[in-house]
């Protein structure tokens, strides 16, 4: 059985900013994020970096309850034609406007795992 799990990181820090890693294959040429996790039959997987900026497609602020802080989630569109989901960093509790530019930033998940989130681009409302 040729079935392998890819362990490559799904983000990369560069001087230009934090980038996300999308993937595509010959069988599935549409870019996807998160990147493909399992590879069948040693199929070649092309990695394509996206970011550091995208466009905020939509968001929400979740209110989990009395004992937890609100947090924001977003769908962000990157070129070429790929969308990513993640946490959205609010600025003093305010979210960027839908349609505005946002950037990828480092962010730890609840269990401490290094991950990514989105935040407003400085100087952009």
């Amino acid at each position: 059985m040729k079935l392998k799990r890819r362990t490559s990181a799904h983000f990369r820090q560069t001087e230009a900013g934090m980038l996300l890693i999308a993937t595509r294959t010959a069988r599935h040429p549409q870019l996807q994020f998160p990147p493909l996790e399992f590879v069948h039959d040693d199929e070649p997987v092309e990695e394509v970096v996206i970011g550091p900026q995208g466009t905020l497609y939509t968001y929400t602020i979740v209110h989990p309850g009395k004992n937890s802080e609100p947090y924001a989630l977003a769908m962000v569109d990157f070129e070429p034609n790929v969308r990513a989901f993640g946490c959205l960093i609010l600025d003093s509790g305010n979210a960027p406007k839908i349609g505005s530019a946002v950037r990828v930033v480092p962010f730890d998940m609840a269990d401490g795992t290094a991950d990514y989130a989105f935040a407003a681009v400085p100087g952009v409302q």
Partner: protein
């Protein structure tokens, strides 16, 4: 071979019954449906069980104490579309001549789970990063507000409408009248959705129908299934339109083609109003109005009882609550009752064609994991 028709229906109250396991609720609905059909369990050749949250073998756990004949039991999990998917599978078997009489039932018991939104897969990429079902719908609402310059307060009117319908429904034990102000002032869940804009998730219930190609023995007129569609979500990773409700629109086109009718022919609709924004999007996806026109359709009163095309005359998920395995079959029961003139105070006059729509499942990369649409008539 005769056409398969719904010849009996049964449904429990929808509420919180922590002392009643799902098997007991389902047994009640099944016995009601069998009595309505004028038959016994021994006349049934197969059972199709829709269940989303319960433990394994839900059908067999339900049926053992009904002393069924050891016939085939099919357990179907398609999240919130489980019950409707079970109906589709049963209908397919009857059309193929495999059986002549079957029971389809759906059930779920959530009051023992402790509360909160429906549990999603823990290993899902989005879920690990904080996605919950209300948040996904809230993002659709934010996008709709942005694209169509709609006041988010409009969403509250869906909750007010459906709760007013639910007050007329004896099984909607949760239901209370609410005002727009109360809906908007209720606790925020995921902006712009407030608590009263979300269907109660911790609700128990069951529903059942009897399908048969044999001559009827019950008192109620048999109901024809003019269309039965099940579809899965397309894997979408690009700049997709989150407010198109793609899987519903696609399933609806198939259903209208199967039935040979259009949305203008419908007398009533039971749709998956898990959140207020859902119903608004489905007005457009089901072809009741054009893109961006759903708020105007709502405001016109057309989708209120007494209007041109009542939507969720039962009160919908918002008023009744949402035991996921039961919801799809409950919608079928509701439409049957209207077609048969048995819907009591919420009766849609001269009902000819009814449509049920249910979606299911939040997994990353798809609009919804599953959707099932049925069109019924006498």
């Amino acid at each position: 071979m005769s056409e398969a028709k719904i010849i009996g229906v049964g449904i429990t109250d929808f509420g919180r019954f922590p002392d009643l396991p799902e098997e007991a609720l389902a047994q009640y609905a099944i016995v009601e449906a069998l009595n309505d059909a004028g038959i016994t369990a021994q006349d049934v050749q197969a059972f199709y069980c829709g269940n989303a949250i319960g433990a394994s073998l839900p059908g067999q756990r339900t049926l053992r104490e009904l002393h069924t004949t050891g016939c085939a039991v099919y357990n179907i999990d398609n999240a919130c579309s489980s019950g409707a998917t079970a109906l589709n599978a049963a209908l397919t078997a009857l059309k193929a001549g495999q059986y002549d009489t079957v029971v389809v039932f759906g059930m779920d018991q959530l009051s023992s789970l402790g509360g909160g939104p429906l549990p999603l897969g823990r290993n899902d990429w989005n879920n690990k990063r904080g996605m919950i079902m209300p948040a996904l719908y809230a993002m659709r609402a934010m996008r709709y507000v942005h694209e169509h310059n709609m006041s988010p307060d409009t969403l509250a009117d869906i909750a007010v409408k459906n709760r007013s319908h639910g007050l007329l429904n004896p099984i909607a034990t949760f239901c209370k009248a609410t005002t727009r102000e109360e809906v908007l002032a209720s606790r925020p869940i995921a902006e712009p959705l407030t608590l009263l804009q979300c269907c109660p998730a911790v609700v128990d219930g069951a529903a059942a129908v009897v399908l048969s190609t044999k001559p009827i023995r019950g008192a109620a007129a048999p109901v024809r299934i003019r269309a039965s569609v099940v579809q899965s979500g397309l894997f979408e990773t690009g700049h997709e339109d989150m407010i198109e409700a793609e899987i519903t629109a696609r399933s609806a086109r198939m259903a209208y083609e199967q039935a040979g009718i259009g949305p203008q022919d419908l007398s009533l609709i039971e749709c998956h109003d898990a959140f207020t924004i859902s119903e608004l999007l489905y007005y457009e996806a089901l072809g009741l109005c054009g893109r961006g026109e759903a708020p105007q359709l709502l405001a016109s009163g057309a989708t209120t009882l007494g209007g041109r095309i009542p939507v969720n005359p039962s009160g919908g998920l918002i008023a009744k609550g949402h035991p996921p395995g039961a919801t799809g079959v409950a919608q079928i029961v509701e439409v049957c009752e209207h077609l048969q003139g048995r819907a009591g105070k919420r009766q849609v006059e001269n009902a000819r064609f009814g449509l049920t729509q249910v979606t299911g499942g939040g997994i990353w990369g798809v609009d919804h994991a599953a959707c099932s649409i049925h069109i019924l008539s006498l």
